[in-house]
């Protein structure tokens, strides 16, 4: 019996995070038992180490464990995005959890385990690995969504996320089974080689798209998102909105672009419809929201629609634009949720639009930072959001999907209404009611600073990052 060569190098970033998760669980048992701040520091160190490992591996390309894992520029680029998302979330969680007396080793271990799942989704070379890592990520996030057990909304969020997630998983698994039935393999490369296009394959692809559509919260599979985003602890919301979406997109792009290449004309049509519906529904419904977390949830649904445009456009330009947008989106959304988190009251209140009236007077810096993130979400230069949208729409026009680009541009106009409305509330309204004084948080501030630097750098000097994103997707398209 010949065992496969165990090359841990190919999964080094994930191994680093996994080791950190185990370390956090062990350290949790040692004194001091009351203060858990050091666990967050250890988690953060693990994420930074994984970031370093990713840059160290940069440029390498290999396959390991009999094609189950692929290490290439694409996986490494997304590892980078996921590491940033996880790092920002850990930073934001520190004081947020301590103020609520809910710090625990399990929380950080689950965040790290979810991160491991996300990273492996980006580097999966086999549908079985996609499925297992998707489950690893989802299981951890289900629990994290219900982490505030005393809060009813948190439990509801966890339950909803779990039930709908399990439902989506079964669609996904059925899709895998049908693709296997049609091609006789679950390996992504061998599926591509079989170039099957029979009816079994078609139904399988459609079911896979349903499963992925749920994880990226594309319309009409977005129903869970608003309730889960509102009910979950805000730090977990940030992780669900950034890391889990990046990972789901990572696996979706790899599966569609490499192994389902033979069915591209079929899924492009489906994605066209999904993109248009997702943008429009997300933005239009967001206008009606008075809860900020709910508004940002619909806004994140709309951004998924923008990213799907790039996938429809295809090619190095379209797919590269999606990757670049994911990077920008991760910084912007994590930052926006970060400000909401810092201004949230201990009981979970203080997240409605009315609560933000006159916020600029009490928290001038936080209000300014939130405004900058919102401007990036609209897509106003000099922030990363502008460049990201520019490249996405540009790729659509280049590939001849002018209608989709027009829908996208119109949606951006609609979206600017509710983003600007929040800025108007913060700066031009009188404050209402009394407000609890929130303590300044160093870790939270650091997270916001990192995210802010991220969107400014991506907006001012985007070229090297665009080149990186395009270089990352080139091997997929070969």
């Amino acid at each position: 019996m010949d065992f496969p060569a165990v090359s841990l190098r190919a999964i080094l970033p994930a191994i680093v995070i996994l080791t950190t998760a185990a370390l956090v669980l062990l350290l949790d048992l040692l004194p001091p038992r009351e203060r858990k701040g050091h666990l967050a520091v250890v988690s953060l160190a693990g994420v930074v180490a994984a970031l370093l490992a990713t840059t160290w591996l940069w440029g390498g390309e290999s396959r390991a464990f009999r094609g189950m894992v692929v290490l290439d520029g694409y996986a490494l680029f997304l590892d980078l995005v996921i590491c940033y998302a996880a790092g920002l979330v850990v930073l934001l969680s520190m004081d947020y959890l301590r103020e609520r007396g809910l710090e625990s080793g399990e929380y950080y271990a689950l965040v790290l385990l979810a991160t491991v799942g996300m990273m492996l989704m980006a580097s999966a070379g086999d549908l079985i690995v996609v499925f297992l890592s998707l489950e690893l990520m989802s299981l951890s996030l289900y629990v994290l969504a219900g982490y505030f057990r005393a809060r009813l909304a948190s439990g509801e969020a966890a339950m909803k996320y779990f039930l709908l997630g399990a439902f989506a998983t079964s669609f996904f698994l059925y899709g895998i089974a049908l693709v296997y039935g049609s091609t006789g393999t679950t390996n992504l490369d061998r599926i591509a080689a079989s170039a099957s296009r029979d009816s079994l394959m078609m139904v399988g692809v459609a079911l896979l798209l349903v499963g992925f559509g749920f994880k990226i919260s594309a319309v009409p599979f977005h129903m869970w998102a608003p309730d889960v985003y509102v009910g979950a602890p805000t730090s977990v919301t940030a992780l669900i909105a950034t890391g889990s979406k990046a990972a789901a997109f990572a696996a979706l792009i790899r599966v569609l672009v490499t192994s389902l290449r033979s069915t591209q004309p079929d899924w492009t049509v489906l994605l066209w419809g999904l993109a248009a519906a997702t943008m429009t529904v997300g933005n239009v419904v967001a206008i009606a929201q008075s809860n900020l977390k709910r508004m940002l949830a619909y806004s994140s649904v709309a951004h998924v629609g923008y990213m799907l445009i790039g996938l429809v456009a295809g090619g190095v330009f379209g797919t590269g634009a999606v990757l670049f947008y994911l990077l920008v989106y991760t910084f912007t959304t994590a930052g926006a949720f970060g400000v909401v988190l810092l201004l949230e009251h201990a009981g979970g209140e203080g997240v409605s639009l009315a609560d933000y009236a006159g916020r600029a007077r009490r928290h001038p810096i936080l209000a300014l930072v939130l405004s900058l993130f919102l401007l990036s979400l609209i897509g106003i230069p000099p922030f990363g959001g502008f460049v990201g949208k520019f490249y996405l729409f540009g790729a659509a026009v280049r590939s001849g999907y002018i209608g989709l680009a027009v829908i996208g541009a119109l949606n951006t106009a609609v979206a600017s209404y509710y983003y600007l409305r929040l800025i108007v509330y913060m700066y031009m309204r009188e404050p209402e009611g009394v407000e609890a004084v929130s303590t300044p948080s160093f870790a939270g501030g650091l997270a916001l600073a990192v995210a802010l630097v991220g969107i400014v750098v991506l907006g001012v000097v985007p070229t090297p990052f665009i080149d990186l994103a395009q270089a990352a997707v080139t091997p997929l398209l070969r």
Binding site: V6, A64, M68, L113, S140, G184
Partner: protein
């Protein structure tokens, strides 16, 4: 001989499935389900899928059934005999579904589609599966252990009584 055994097992499977939906007492239903799962395991065995048969017995007839019975005991203690069925109107839904399945089966008999492609190394023995698990599928196998760890930590985080 084999055909006779198959029909005997199939009859038990169908009868126990009927028993499951006809009996009102949930405990009786659960016991019928055990019989049903066991007979399906026997059919797997006849198809030369020993591993699948063992997994069926251990996971379904064992672990999942224990969970079922446990849930029935905890949730409805002492009133296993329930009153009129609250889902009675939904029985009408069964007619189109049943008709659909019937048409499907008849279609299969008429069309007789080609059997699916034989996957490589499709032996149902524990040895073949074990070999695959530790060679080609080593990575997913190890990943499953991480998944179980996450589930374990998650259960702890949700069940721990604190604050």
């Amino acid at each position: 001989m084999q055909t006779a055994v198959f029909f005997a097992i199939a009859a038990i499977a169908v009868a126990s499935a009927l028993g499951l939906i006809v009996r009102r007492n949930p405990i009786h239903g659960a016991l019928f389900l055990v019989v049903n799962l066991g007979s399906v395991a026997a059919i797997y065995l006849m198809l030369n899928a020993q591993f699948l048969a063992a997994a069926q017995v251990i996971i379904y007839a064992g672990a999942i059934m224990v969970l079922f019975v446990f849930a029935i005991m905890v949730l409805i203690p002492g009133k296993e005999e329930t009153g009129p069925d609250p889902l009675r109107p939904f029985r009408l839904v069964a007619i189109p579904f049943g008709a659909f399945l019937l048409v499907e089966i008849l279609l299969m008999l008429v069309v007789r589609p080609a059997p699916p492609r034989e996957p490589p190394g499709a032996e149902g023995g524990a040895e073949a599966i074990g070999r695959l698990l530790f060679t080609d599928y080593l990575f997913p196998f190890e990943l499953t252990s991480v998944l179980l760890l996450a589930a374990l930590v998650g259960v702890l985080a949700l069940a721990k009584r604190k604050a």
